[in-house]
């Protein structure tokens, strides 16, 4: 019994000691943070006129002058954070002028030093700042840090810094290979990071299309989305034929995103694909292509078993203009009790309401809206078929 109580006593003493030490440490750290914040605020106030000078001259011809006098460490940090905040918000020559100032103040050099010598979280913060600055000289050290970094949010902070600072596609390739080496399906995130670079991504992403690593292929498909590259179409189609389900979907998005590069015949085939996501993409794109020969295939889409495909097919039909609206109205009447008819009617009403709202703000939309509304009225003349939310009277008053 005595032993039990002595254990409890030891435990109590231990807990009390930990709490006292913890509370004291916390208090000390908090005091330090409060002091630093107050001092930083004072420094920012002290340099108010200097920041006004920067704001006034950042667009001028002359390089920006650093603040006068010797700066304390915390003072420099306060100015550094302010400059980084500005550089994140502005673009173009003004940003480069601020970057020049940052370098002239020796801050870039300090960040480079922290990158090699600091604590982990300090290195990552320095990497973030160097990325904002787009410091080319930092790239080797950033790549080194990237290679040693475990998979997690910090990896992408460093990668983004590399993407922004890189001056050659080879660096981006190296960076992508390091991240892909972790074998995590973070393809969208990598593609997003790559797009932070000002370099042309097409050459090295094209080379990834021919790699055997599916992760690199996926990154390439995502990264090349929106690039009008007809010569890549065979590679997209190859992956469409042979790839996994997610690969096929990405290949379709890459092939369809720059509207017009895919052959309409291929598009029609995709609208009958066994994968619902591919049929969905095809339905979306058909509306954007804008040609009436898509109408039969979109009408087929209205009968799809997946609601979203029916919905997008109906919307695409509306986007095709009067011919599409006519087709929707016919379907809504003839197939009234079927899902195809119901979706056609629902989308007609929804899109007419949106068009009505837009027509109120954009006069050039008034005529197209009224033509569509007149077609709707022909098929649904009864008062009970008034389109809720459509200001027909208001629109009539204009004529």
């Amino acid at each position: 019994m005595l032993n039990d109580l002595s254990s409890v006593i030891r435990l109590t003493e231990g807990a009390a000691a930990l709490i006292l030490a913890g509370a004291a440490g916390l208090f000390a750290v908090k005091l330090q943070h409060v002091r630093m914040n107050r001092q930083s605020a004072r420094y920012l106030q002290k340099h108010r006129e200097y920041f006004s000078y920067l704001a006034a001259h950042v667009g001028g011809e002359e390089p920006l002058m650093p603040p006068p006098g010797q700066l304390a460490a915390l003072e420099k940090e306060a100015i550094r954070d302010k400059l980084v905040e500005w550089m994140e918000r502005i673009r173009g020559e003004e940003r480069w002028k601020l970057i020049g100032l940052y370098r002239d103040m020796g801050l870039a050099g300090e960040d480079m030093k922290t990158l090699k010598e600091g604590l982990h979280w300090m290195k990552v913060e320095a990497a973030h700042r160097l990325g904002v600055l787009r410091v080319q000289e930092a790239v080797p050290a950033l790549l080194d840090l990237l290679r040693k970094e475990k998979y997690g949010p910090s990896l992408f902070i460093i990668a983004r810094a590399i993407a922004k600072s890189a001056r050659t596609p080879g660096v981006l390739r190296e960076m992508t290979l390091v991240i892909a080496g972790h074998k995590k399906p973070c393809h969208e995130l990598v593609a997003d990071v790559l797009h932070d670079s000002s370099l042309d991504l097409t050459p090295f992403l094209e080379s990834f299309l021919d790699e055997e690593d599916p992760d690199l292929q996926m990154i390439a498909l995502l990264g090349l989305r929106g690039y009008p590259c007809p010569r890549l179409l065979p590679a997209f189609e190859r992956l469409l034929e042979t790839g996994s389900r997610s690969m096929r979907r990405k290949a379709v998005q890459a092939a369809l995103e720059p509207v017009g590069i895919i052959h309409p015949q291929k598009l029609r085939e995709l609208s009958r694909d066994k994968d619902e996501e591919i049929r969905l993409e095809a339905a979306r794109v058909m509306g954007r292509i804008g040609t009436e020969d898509m109408i039969p295939h979109l009408l087929g889409g209205l009968k799809d078993k997946l609601w979203r495909v029916r919905y997008e097919s109906a919307r695409s039909l509306y986007r095709l203009g009067e011919a599409g609206v006519e087709a929707l109205c016919r379907t809504a009447v003839k197939e009234e009790n079927l899902p195809s008819g119901q979706i056609a009617k629902n989308v007609l009403i929804g899109e007419l309401r949106i068009s009505s709202a837009r027509a109120a703000d954009f006069p050039e939309e008034i005529l197209p809206f009224h033509r569509c509304l007149n077609i709707y009225r022909r098929y649904f003349p009864e008062p009970g078929h008034k389109v809720p939310g459509v200001r027909e009277k208001a629109m009539a008053g204009i004529f």
Binding site: V8, K30, Y151, K184, P185, R308
Partner: protein, 479 residues
């Protein structure tokens, strides 16, 4: 008899200490994670992601019942999120107050035709959908009352996108909260099935246009205690559990889910409060049984602010409800406990929940009663009672201290020194009655569960503009 009483008290204390030791380990893991990963992620600006074409679109589901006082502010905060593509679906679950009318009038909503995207989840009938093209991504669903899980299922049926985020009607999301959650998802979209956000106490904060513009500590006692509790639970606990994939709960106030896996497990259900824990346990079970790699994560830098109860009856009602939910969930999934096939959840998280949530209140209560009996038989041994009470108290304070360390090192939301002193001071006060009250409510919740009492109890909503007693609406809600 005296010896037996003391032996039992010691046994009770040691049993509880074993559970606390695990909690301490989780706290240490949380510390490590906070410093290594969270601080850099927290300082990283998310402007880069906000305009990205690669960010997946999200359906935000907001189930609500009798939320006329808070719903407008919450919706305004959701409609001003910094996120490229999303929709907001408010599900009015048969409110008896003016929730629907308030929304219709404020946003100029009109009825629109409705067809469910998916019909895979069972839900009560939908009476109507309301929309205004001027708010193209905002919809209100009006349906028969069926409870929160029913409302969420109906919302999932209507949602367009592959990711759904569940947000309480009295939550205010920070403008980049969704981006931060989705960043975690994008790191591994194939394996991530759910991510929980961090819920912070809004009582006392300055709120303008649906955003917390000035962070302040609550100025009332109960919300302040709850503030420290939330820090303990979210920062001290969930970060660590998430790191070992043993998280048992993603707060209903703010979470992100993959819709396909929600549908695979049959959506929300259970028929009792605790639907947020229930869905996570279902997800764990399903994924572990399928053998597929997965993760259920916690993202502490994705913040949502919520009102917490400031009166004892309402707080007690809430805690009893939580306790009922915990008990029923642990009981429902008891088959996973101590089974190696269920990994961390089966071997660690569920047993911990069982001992900490279910057994430890009884052990503490009977332990103290035994000690009291021991002391009453010999009043000179009153120091023993004080010693045990002190040990219990200090361990509670240790956890609060640990959580405050994480807050200070990784987040620093409360910049004033007096805020820290206040939090430390109230951590001490908490253990002198509030923690004991929580034990009592847990026991009462268990009793309610045994009586098959499934009501949500008394919930009081206050307008976001009136933190001090003003207009209040008292509602009674039942399943």
């Amino acid at each position: 008899m005296r010896v037996w009483l003391l032996d039992y008290a010691v046994f009770a204390v040691y049993s509880v200490l074993i559970v606390y030791a695990l909690y301490l380990l989780i706290l240490l893991i949380s510390h490590r994670q906070a410093l290594r990963t969270l601080r850099p992620a927290y300082v990283s600006k998310y402007r880069d992601l906000s305009g990205s074409e690669y960010i997946p679109p999200i359906s935000i589901l907001v189930p609500c019942y009798n939320e006329e006082l808070t719903i407008l502010e919450s919706v305004r905060s959701l409609l001003s999120l910094n996120y490229p593509e999303y929709e907001v679906i408010v599900i009015n679950d048969g409110s008896k107050d003016k929730t629907l009318r308030v929304l219709i009038e404020a946003f100029g909503l009109i009825p629109m035709p409705y067809e469910a995207q998916n019909r895979e989840l069972e839900a009560r009938p939908v009476k109507g959908i309301y929309h205004n093209p001027f708010y193209p991504n905002f919809f209100v669903m009006d349906k028969d009352n069926g409870g929160k899980e029913d409302a969420l299922n109906a919302g999932i049926n209507m949602s367009r996108y592959a990711l759904v985020s569940t947000v309480d009607a009295d939550s205010l999301l920070e403008s980049d909260a969704l981006l931060r959650l989705v960043r975690v998802y994008m790191e591994n979209p194939e394996e991530t099935v759910a991510i929980g956000g961090n819920v912070r106490v809004a009582n006392g904060c300055v709120i303008e246009n649906g955003q917390v513009t000035e962070v302040r500590l609550p100025n009332k006692l109960l919300p302040l205690f709850q503030h420290i509790e939330y820090l303990r639970s979210f920062l001290g606990g969930r970060i660590g559990w998430s790191a070992i994939n043993g998280l048992l709960i993603v707060s209903g106030a703010f979470g992100l889910f993959r819709k396909d896996t929600l549908i695979q497990v049959g959506g929300y259900g259970g028929g009792f409060p605790g639907e947020d824990m229930n869905i996570i346990l279902k997800l764990h079970k399903r994924m572990l049984e399928s053998g597929r790699p997965y993760r259920i994560a916690f993202c502490p830098d994705a913040v949502c602010w919520t009102q917490v109860p400031d009166t004892l009856p309402v707080l007690g009602s809430q805690r009893k409800r939580w306790s009922r939910g915990n008990l029923k969930n642990v009981w429902m999934f008891r088959g996973m406990m101590f089974i190696p096939r269920y990994g961390t959840v089966g071997l660690l998280s569920l047993p911990y929940a069982f001992f900490y949530e279910m057994l430890s209140p009884y052990l503490r209560l009977t332990g103290y009663l035994a000690l009291l009996g021991y002391v009453l038989t010999d009043m000179t041994s009153w120091r023993v009672l004080v010693l045990f009470f002190l040990a219990d108290m200090l361990i509670g304070m240790l956890f609060s201290c640990g959580a405050l360390w994480i807050e200070e090192m990784a987040f620093r939301r409360y910049p004033k020194l007096k805020d820290l002193l206040k939090m430390l001071g109230f951590s001490v006060l908490m253990v002198l009655g509030y923690d004991q009250l929580n034990v009592w409510w847990k026991l009462a919740g268990h009793l309610d569960a045994l009586r098959k009492h499934n009501s949500w109890g008394v919930m009081v909503r206050k307008s976001w503009q009136e933190d001090v007693a003003g207009k209040q609406a008292v509602t009674n809600q039942s399943l």
